[in-house]
Amino acid sequence: MTIQFERGKVVVIDRGARKLRVGQGMLKGMAVVWHHWLKSFQKLDNFSKTAGVFTVEYPDERIKLPEAYRNMPILLYDDETGQELCTACFQCQRVCPPQVIHINQARNPETGKAIPAAAEFIIEYDACMSCGFCAEVCPFDSIKMDHEFELSTEDHAELTMNKAQLSRPVSYYERIAPTFWAEVKASAYKKLQNSVKRRVDLIGIAPQMVEKVKAMRAAAAESEATEAAPSSAPTKPSAAETSPATDKAAKLAAIRAANAAKQDAGNGGTSTPEAPAGDDKAAKLAAIRAANAAKKAAESGEGSASVAPAAPEAPAGDDKAARLAAIRAANAAKKAKDEQENS
């Protein structure tokens, strides 16, 4: 029995009329290689050409990266005032696909009211996938993608970046991506002005700039004082100028305190822990406290809160990690609380 096939998708190349084929094809191939060999002594400058050395001897030579190149996210702050553009709006944390962004909202230490600035901002570079969603979504143009790619470390934990490591001056970003920054510069600064109004003291200043800003303010105060000494009259307007801000802050703090008290009353003493800046021990403590709170909340939730994530263990020794844990714990506690409320 004979079966006939349809040809299917066999591509038959028509080689034209019958020629004498006695190995010229091989010589042609060798000629191509010879051409490449000859051309290889010059650099390939134009990428539409096919021959020429295009190797970049990396540590010595570097290609200028395109502006849109993105590697890892960074946070921007203003060069002069040190004010961070970030307002802790949590947009980036929400959008982050691998969930490596952790933010802690800054609070007024007196009133406990939220301030548009991040008390701590952590990105786990080791799990970041460089998608750039955070930079896309940031309404304040605070988070941007860096061009730095030589990130390798000996220790895994070193790739967990805190605010101090993430912060870059605006001028840095302006250098690596001038046109992009030019597009958003005006609106970004406008938004920054708005949020600066609601910040108190040194909150919202990039960690690198804290000392400098302190010194600057001290110098300013001194000069003010020296100015004020001869004539005490002009001091009052200046005090009056600053007073609205402090007033506002005081009011905010009061409202917040009241809210917190209400919450406490309604919730049986669960308080959202704040990560105190810079203190390792306190951070751990906060973490433990938060975990306990979460547990408690889960217990009082009568079964419905069993979804609450397991309390994170107190991290060992590492400042950054401790803070991260604290933030996570706080989030977990919040979630547990929400669930409890829902139920």
Partner: protein, 217 residues
Amino acid sequence: MELLIQIIFFLLAALILGAGVMVVAVRNIIHSALWLIGSFFGVGALYLLLEAEFLAVVQVLVYVGAVSILILFAIMLTRDVSGQGERLLFQRWWLALLVAITLFAAVITPTLLAQSWNVVPPTGPIEPGQPTGIAGALELGRGFVHEFLLHFEIAGVLLLVALIGAIVIAFEERNRRRKVLTLAEEHELRKRREQTSDANASESALSAPGHPISQSE
């Protein structure tokens, strides 16, 4: 100088005979073949010592380069290498040993010792047409196309016969060979099988219109 040559000779003899003993004594057939190569090599070196340069080179070329490779190939194709758990020798191997030792001790050695073999050939004055010195590759080549022409041709025919014979004997018929299909061939084959089974099915039932088979046929 003579001592040096004697030392070399004894070393070579030890290599040839030692390797020869290992060939018949070693269990692993591959090791046996490797010792055989050592023995061949020693024989080649002995030819060199006997100033038969051409033969020495041919020995290396044919035995070390070809025959031993053939043997190794045959061993590997028959996949019976280690010889573990099998009898190495025949049951009556002692008989063979007896024959061999008797032959050596009782026949060959006495014959060797009984007579002086190193006769100086009757060399008269060398005639003009006769060769002088030790015959080398040049004389051999000349001999092959003059006095030994027939022998040479017979050897050639023998090699041809052996070549054809080996191919015929070892050849495996195509239909008995398991063909390894490429992926594309396998795909085509599968399609074909499906089509034939479909065709069989449709033969038993009514053939559906627009069926691939009916289209193609």
